[in-house]
Symmetry: C2
Amino acid sequence: MELWYTEKHTDNVSLSIKVDKQIYSGKSEFQRIDIFDSKEFGRIMVLDGYLMLTEKDEFIYHEMITHVAMCVHPNPKKVLVIGGGDGGTVRELTKYDFIEKIDLVEIDEEVVDVSKKYLHTTALKLDDPRVTCYYEDGLKFIRRVNDEYDIIIVDSTDPFGPGEGLFTREFYGNCYKALHDDGIMVNQHESPFYEGDAEAMQRAHKRICMSFPISKVYQVHIPTYPSGHWLFGFASKKYHPVKGVNWDRWKKLGLKLKYYNTALHAGAFALPNYVEELLRDVES
Amino acid sequence: MELWYTEKHTDNVSLSIKVDKQIYSGKSEFQRIDIFDSKEFGRIMVLDGYLMLTEKDEFIYHEMITHVAMCVHPNPKKVLVIGGGDGGTVRELTKYDFIEKIDLVEIDEEVVDVSKKYLHTTALKLDDPRVTCYYEDGLKFIRRVNDEYDIIIVDSTDPFGPGEGLFTREFYGNCYKALHDDGIMVNQHESPFYEGDAEAMQRAHKRICMSFPISKVYQVHIPTYPSGHWLFGFASKKYHPVKGVNWDRWKKLGLKLKYYNTALHAGAFALPNYVEELLRDVES
């Protein structure tokens, strides 16, 4: 017998992964949650049919959504993660001893429960004493927060279903308000390659530009995401993501990572012409 | 009816592309050649079952295999392309007025014929007066060449089948010999992500390091290749690929490209830690 998980990246292209077996399948209040084991990618989490993470390449996503802002900000003590119920982003944040408080706002408590049960690789730090989990809609949570965080990481699903509100202008404006005067917001920013993804990416960029004076985009290779070409947004009140960064301060921490390094950080902000043009088209 | 082209990237993962119809299928002396039309990717060329190029993303591969060396070398007049029968690399080279001679060595004349007939996007400059096509094995061609070229671009298929010889130590050594004292070789360098590809990538890097004093690797996003994370090798007798490059000279040429720019060029040499480690493991 062969069992294959297939995700359509567009109507006309799909990625298929051979799986050994299905470990879990359930329906929460918000979405369907599936866990598979596979030879090539280890354990895999799928939400509403969309691949969220695999054990083999989640380090790329989680390192790159976390360490860029952590390197740029000179003194981050309080970090908010919106989404990210699998715990991968929290795991990366807990590598910094000087972070005092990590708040995780995940709309779907079952994602956290399932992750704690089946995804130890990412969930292992969710019980760190510095971590507080709030199970509610990030869009609502952020409305009542003012001048509270150094960094906000929007570790969302795609801009439809439960994650839709995390791509709105209102949400980004409230993230701005929730940050300190030198705060940084990083967000999962979709892909520039396929037309539908690129439009979502442009919409997000346009809305972030409306709220933040500094709004840049950086790119990474995520093999299991559509096209493998993925973007993160870096929005900031004060700090540029590359110019003036004190790289040595970060290097002195001596963190051992599999993907991120400071040269890659700087290089990731250099985008192909066609991506630059997509971004420029919505900046005004 | 639905018609899907599927390529196995490993035994456990595959990419499938919906095709409208098969435009051509033939068997040359060296390999099977297939051409498809697809809605998502336009026209597609497949050799021995492996996707070589699509109209939608070939610009990434061809721009990045060509313009990095063209930007670094201060005065390239004579360029050799080994493989590349589709003409995409030649097309990029012909954008430089100051190039005087482009030799293309393609083992399989039928790839050139089929490309001229069905792939106008890439093949349109193969009849440029500066271009000479040699239909023979690049491994043999290069043996009899000495101190002849400023740049050699190894635009090969994968390291098995007709392209196998283009990944040998003998071949790289002969490329060194065929280059002028300040010559540069760029090669298609496989992917670091899946185990089998990463081993091929390491073997190539090890062998290139044996022949060239400067041997670096740079990365690009090619959505239709396995994992989307692709590498090129930059091997050089004299010029570093980033340090000391006269970026302004290249910018003044005013070339309009879809992917390549000089910031991206510099950024592409900043590699993830795990790729750096794979490379270091075979350097000695």
